[in-house]
Amino acid sequence: MSPMSLPDLFGGFVHLHVHSQYSFLDGASRCSELVARCAELGMGAMAITDHDNVSCAVEFARAAAEHGIKPIQGVELTMEGGAHLTLLAENPEGYANICNILTDAYMNSSDRRRPEARVHTLERHSKGLIALSGCRRGAIPAAILARQHDRAMQAAEALVKIFGKRNFYIELQHPMTPGAAALNSALIHLASSLGVGVVATNNVHYTHKSGFELHDVLTCIRTLTTLDDIHPERHINAENYLKSAAQMRELFALVPEAVVNTLAIAERCSPGLNLGRKLFPKYEPPAGESPASLLRRLTMQGAEARYGRITQAVRDRLEHELNVIITLGFEGYFLAVHDIAAWARGRGIRCAGRGSAADSAVVYCLGLTNVDPIARGLLFERFLSLERAQRPDIDIDFQSDRRDEVADYVYERYGQGHVASVCTFNTFLARSAVRDVGKALGIPEPEIDRLAKRLPHIPADGVRAAFSRYPELRDSGIQPHRFELLLDLVHQMAGLPRHIGTHLGGLVISGEPLTCVTPLQMSAKGVPITQFDKDSIEELGLIKLDLLSLRTLCAVERAQELIKAPEFSYDRIPHDDAATYSMLQSGETIGVFQLESPAQRALQPRLKADSFEDIVASVALIRPGPIKGNMVEPFVARRRGKEEVSYVDPRLEPILKKTYGVVLYQEQVIQIATAIAGFSPGESDRLRKVMTHCRSMVEMEAIGRDFVAKAMANGTDKETAETIFSYIVGYAGYGFCEAHAAAFADTAYRTAYLCRHFPAEFFAALLSAQPMGFYPPRTLIVEARRRGVRVLPLDVNASKHRYTVENGAIRVGLMQVKGISASDIQSIEDAQASGPFTSAADFAARTDVPVDVFENLALAGAFDSIEPNRRAVVWAVRRLASSSAAARKLSSEAEAAGQMRLSGLEDGASLKAHVAEASRSIRDFTPIQSFAAETEILGFCVHKHAMEFYRSSLARWGALTASEIAQAKPGQLVRAAGLVVRPHRPPTKSGRTVVFLSLEDETGLTDVTVFESEYQKYGAAIFGSAALLVEGTVCDRGGAVSITAKRIRPFRGRRGHASPRQPSASTDREACR
């Protein structure tokens, strides 16, 4: 069939050059919108050709299948020298070649963000590809525009040589820009000379004409310009949208074959992605074994270690799980994960599994998790089932400072090209969208900054509602027309990806080279990443493994090192320590993993946890879902015996007994569906997953009808079945994975034990592992003190890299000093090894730290034990540092030349004398000046808390300290003052805004609740102030004391500053320069 006689295939025209949202900051429409519009226009096929990536491929294939159109995978490639070339995959081989070309382009370019494809790579990987000459930035059109027609012809001939005449087309576009018609004439003439076809495209960057405005703003963001600037990459009109076949025919009325050829190309192409493949990791077992037999052997060995005697119940469970794993072909994956964890443990790297993998007894026996799912009655089907046949996804936390060693092992062991990190797409949220769009609109930076900082962390399309709801966002100060435009554009950007990044811990290990399904490119961290994120990676046939970093494990390891009790082992902490539970019941859980937030601290005294099960429930309860679903109060009431527990059906009792009749865990949803409606566990888990992603009431009602019908067939009456379904409807979306909660609860309990029994070591370890947790170092120091632990100041002789424990007291570590580097610390520690420093001059002579770090050490009081006057040391720092550096340089030069050291330079004694003289003549810092300097350098002051400076005036005002408020009577009207800690607005069951914050003073924390009406009055103060004065009534909920705020105002201390900052410390530094 000749092209000119093609029937009206695919609706008469096919768009072969289209950019989705994955052309970052250049594609203004989502793939789903483009595909839907394509189907609406009656077009039966479309290509997606994003800039240097195929990240849209899986999403595109899915959307195309839903709309019944043929997806053609493609790319707009950047060649060496910057020219563009459009490539379309004719078949899976062509798609794989695109992946190889892109990988080569990224890996061999000098800038990892700017790939450059090389001609010889095209030559090696040209099979299955159709090339189009590209937009105006293509080599051929660019040469014509530069009036270099010979060069244009040479470029065209080169491409014909690579792809062949049948697989190369000259691309014609008519974007209605100056010179477009003339360019097309020249291109048509060139095509005719070469004997190649022409094809019409529209270089689509947005779905509808109205998308141009967003595209223009994205271009400004990309080119760092404003709308008022001119830039060659900005389009001058709104013509690059998905035009109809009729529109394209009209545009190319003089070249109808350019339109017909789009149909011919589309007809030739078959889908490039083969989504049914299995690219699971291959694990080579020892001779004589298969991967399956090896997995079985390791599991049974592990079971003996875990259980001692393997009962029939354990054996049956393990056999069932192994059969599912092997039937689905995942044995290589499990063996690989076991190998990685074993390697890590062999090198003393602490790790702990989490997530739904803790539902698996095989995983437990392989030593990957510490939760016994058989003892807990956890369902394997929540993790893996034959019915869902989903990929297993095992997450393992490693101590954060050594996680990268594990990743390096994986790359080395399983082969470069077979291992890569999974990418992630950093999308526009409210703050980032407001910043970027604000700049593009030319709004002054201070105004944008003020606005963005006050926005909560919400999606971009929540901004308009946030502005009307949150008082601290009112009065933006931006001109109304621009403000409206800002809101409108920010709303449109919701969810658009801004750039590609690296998933925190996700790795794929493939049995085949990864480039058969995904290009690889280098991340900022220097590791190869896929171009597909975790949502698409499974559909490509890959399995992901999460190697995560958990700073808590770092803290645990550090605490273990600091605890000098030889009989202590973190791994052998008993699970029934009464003192630990007593501490949890008091709500004193700052520092405890998962249990330290204000909401957890308020829950614990009410819950009165006295078993591990209670901790598991705590972890699952304080989540947005259970809070909004009103699960917390009934659970607590039933747990405390204040509300009767009843079951609408006796079959629910064994399932819900451990949670007092409340549906809390996802596994319970599965068990209920199995017991009541007769589903198999795998079917039940599929039901749970569907309900979790349910988008409409209509859909949910359909599921409900099916459930009730099956329940009735299984012997349940209709009313009971409907009631039970209403329970699981509410909780299916919110319920937490019990296995994950149990895995976290294990670490939570153990850290609580450390906190209770070894507070000095525990808090020193937490401080060494910062940044982590809910609270800043300053608050942890207050808490440690509150527990009776002394905190010793920074000291050049006593302080080491990290925080240490000296006779039960915490010593501040050198790491806390602002601007200090690892090599600076090493220099100090090396010098410490040869004897204590006797003076600042001695320190200068024996170490090699930069002058600003030296200054910071002085300001933070590191020399207080050897120099009487801190300010004098600060004054002398520059002179000490430069003299010592000069002396060292001349000394080493003299030594190298075999000469005597030159005399005449200041020696240590004279420098020391200089400091002593300064100490006599310069008045030392006042307490407030010392405080201010230390706080600036360390983030806190060891000797004094900010609020102590104002205690007497606060007392006159009637303010109580945190420790006094903890003893106050419920209902009492009180006043409090403190530094603001973590104000936040979590979702509430009423939907109204409630703000929770803590006020920190020298005695501890006071929790404050601010309801909607007070929030509307004082929101700006809450989120804009470093310290607050609060009046309110004391509320005591089961021992958890807080203040319900009635009046709030910023606390500015003396001289209008929120904390006692004085300018003198910085004046001193300026004077010394």
Partner: protein, 83 residues
């Protein structure tokens, strides 16, 4: 060399061939026949300040070149004269 004019004018548009192209325009007291449309393009202008879309036509007429523009409401203007 070109000079800005930016004055409303009357234009006769084509009814055959490319729709909407200028065929003649009234300037300097007479109708000027368009010999050829050398180029045409479309611009959105400063849309963020409410500007409308314009179509532009670079035409030759007699011995001169003229840049004509038309808004989306069909109002014509002589933008520039190119000497």
């Amino acid at each position: 060399m070109s000079r800005k004019v930016e004055r409303p004018i009357r234009v006769e548009e084509s009814t055959q061939g490319p729709q909407g192209h200028p065929v003649s325009f009234y300037w300097s007291g007479r109708w000027n026949r368009v010999d050829a449309v050398i180029d045409s393009w479309r611009e959105c202008g400063e849309w963020w300040d409410g500007a409308e879309e314009h179509d532009y036509f670079l035409v030759s007429s007699g011995s001169g070149c003229y840049e004509l523009s038309r808004t989306c409401h069909g109002q014509w203007e002589l933008s520039r004269i190119i000497d």
